[in-house]
Amino acid sequence: MTSLWSRRSFLRNASLGAAGAAVAAQASQGAYADEAAIERARNPRFLIVLSSFGGANQVDAFLSRRESEIPNAATLNAYPDSLVQNIGEFRAIDLKSPTIGAIPASFTANQSNFVRKHSNDMMVITHTGTSVNHFVAQQRSINGNAAWLGRTLQEATALTYGAGYPIPNVHLVNGTGFTERGTDETMPAYVYGERAPTPNLWPLSLDGYKGVVGAPSRGLFEKARAFRNEQLDPSSAFYRTFSGSQRVKHWTSIRGDALRGVEAEDLITKLMLFPDSEAMPLTAHGLKGSEIGQKVREAFPNYEFDPLEAQAALAFMLLRYGVSVTVTLGPDGSAVFKKGVKLGEGGLGEGDIVNPPISFDFSHQANREVQALMWNRQLMIADRLITLLKSEEFRDGQSFWDRSMIYFATEFGRTRRRPNNAMTFGSGHELNNGSLIVSPFANGGHVLGGVDPDTMLTYGFDPETGRPEPGRHMTEPEVYSGIAHALNIDTSGSALPDMRAMRRSA
């Protein structure tokens, strides 16, 4: 059998080449890191789940409709004709508003720029979910309502491509159903999501030694670890008494080669987004910022106060350095204000509210304004991520973006009714919606499905051809299957339907 470390070298040197992406083998993955797994790891597809908390509504974006197209436009969420742009098969709404519902906070939101720039990789699919409970619907958006043994899309991606990656599946946003662990407990430990809740300090947990001022040398530290692992613990009465504990077994399994695999890649440096500063005195502690930190910070300049920008920055670095094959990020329920804004001191200025509380779900108060603001935010994050991923070569002239997919996961849509011709109104949760997927692997440039002008509810499409099928509703398992297959995940034996229409190539 190939030794773990030579396999690791193989992976690093032969597979990922000049991109410098690192892949560290993990002892715990031994059974899985067979030749097929190595081959898959050499040619990964990356899944970025950009969770859209609260109901990112397609008819407020790429499936929006003009009032002139909708018979009952006065009471349905159709937009004034002048606001709706057609760009290829997609629609876009650019909105400038002096308020967000009752909140006097002006903002300018734009969807058209993203569509113009990325329409070739954009695919909008329609679907109808089965729950309007936030948490339940969030879970189903990533597990397809238990479409494949209860595995989430992130876990399925990590299982397929993650063998040998230090931390294949990282959750940068927490506490939502989008990052809830799946129910298939039979997979190796590395498949399940790792929480990285604080992008500035989390990298410190990637090395047990570096930056601890005054400690004995690294070599001696490693001797102490080996002494503990091989001598002190195995002979201890505690271990001999409690070695049957699953918790103890798990702990001992991950503090061996898996741990060394993480540390050997110097991720504490590579993933250190923050530069040396008074708040982050890296140099004084023998640490330094990432080589690509400057580039990433320029892409996400608000990383210090905007959690989503910090998440996105770290997400890019995790992919770029070959640490992960799937990352999940997104806004949570917290409001974010522009840096320096102080409430109660003269009102809010243009763009002061970066993220309304409860994100898309603030549509309960002001549907159009919140949808516009939040879509603008999500698209801006996605655009910058794509730009960064395109700027870095993976191998053989391919960029990281050439191997990536961004799935804008959301719980549900928003109700379509509105008071007579109202521009500002609140909306409820609505099962019927659609999703945006951006990827070179997706059937880009297309809307799959359509919008019923009588109800403004979406309808589905033929899974093979993508032809619109009024009266059909795409299900959660179908969406799951389409995404999984576009990522070239082998779902043999799952009975998942073939959603050929959602892939760019067969």
Binding site: I167, N174, G175, T176, A189, Y190, E194, R195, P197, T198, L201, L204, S205, D207, G208, Y209, G211, V212, V213, G214, A215, P216, S217, G219, L220, F221, K223, A224, R225, F227, R228, L232, D233, S235, S236, F238, Y239, R240, T241, F242, G244, S245, Q246, R247, V248, W251, T252, I254, R255, A258, L259, V262, E263, M280, P281, L282, A284, H285, L287, D332
Partner: protein, 219 residues
């Protein structure tokens, strides 16, 4: 846990006398008695101690205030600010993490090692700065005049006992003491056996090994 059921009467009385205060004190009787071979639990329900309890224990027993015992980048509390979630804590209002992680994260053992190393390094540094208040790294490593060619065996035994007493709050077995004593040669690593630096490193790393052992992390 029966910590010293098998100590002889003399040992117990010495121990009790030495432990009159709540601060951990090393046992002066160096001949720790072996416990019988353990019986494996048929239904082990050990739990993760979590970062907060872990640091509270070390704070009390290594005599470093809780809010000073472990600081990342010299300013962020290791548990509260840096590793709260990976070390089993929660942060509901902002991070929306309502419950501790069910099983350890891949980074948990790394973070735990880091915390243990911070704490032990910190303690030995303080011991060297104020030898009269030393907790782990006591004077006398190389004899009364500090000129012996190798560490004094009694000093090593006592140090090992102090480390176990401070970190695991129990008397070590003779085997455990010998394990730590023999570890000295590894730490020496080609350096002079009577180097104070080697002795300090040995205390630091012995403390680290015990403080990051399974018994220190689970209960």
């Amino acid at each position: 846990m029966k910590i010293s059921y098998h100590l002889g009467l003399l040992s117990v009385s010495v121990l009790v006398a030495a432990c009159a205060s709540s601060a951990p004190s090393p046992q002066t009787d160096l001949a720790a008695v072996e416990s019988p071979a353990p019986v494996a639990s048929s239904d082990p329900r050990v739990k993760f101690k979590d970062g907060e309890r872990y640091l509270r224990d070390l704070s009390a027993n290594l005599q470093i205030p809780r809010d000073e015992i472990c600081k990342e980048l010299s300013q962020y509390d290791c548990m509260t600010d840096a590793f709260r979630i990976v070390l089993g804590g929660v942060e509901a209002p902002n991070l929306l993490v309502n419950d501790p992680i069910e099983s350890a994260a891949l980074t948990s053992p790394i973070a735990l090692d880091r915390v243990a190393l911070h704490v032990c390094t910190n303690r030995v540094k303080l011991d060297q700065e104020k030898p009269e208040q030393a907790v782990l790294f006591q004077a006398g490593a190389f004899g009364k005049k500090d000129k012996a060619k190798k560490p004094d065996p009694a000093w090593m035994h006592q140090t090992a006992d102090t480390i176990y007493g401070s970190v695991l709050m129990r008397t070590p077995s003779e085997q455990e003491v010998q394990n730590l004593v023999s570890f000295y040669d590894q730490v020496r690593d080609g350096r002079a056996a009577n180097s104070k630096e080697v002795a300090a490193d040995w205390v630091t790393l012995s403390c680290f090994a015990v403080a990051s052992s399974l018994e220190a992390v689970f209960y």
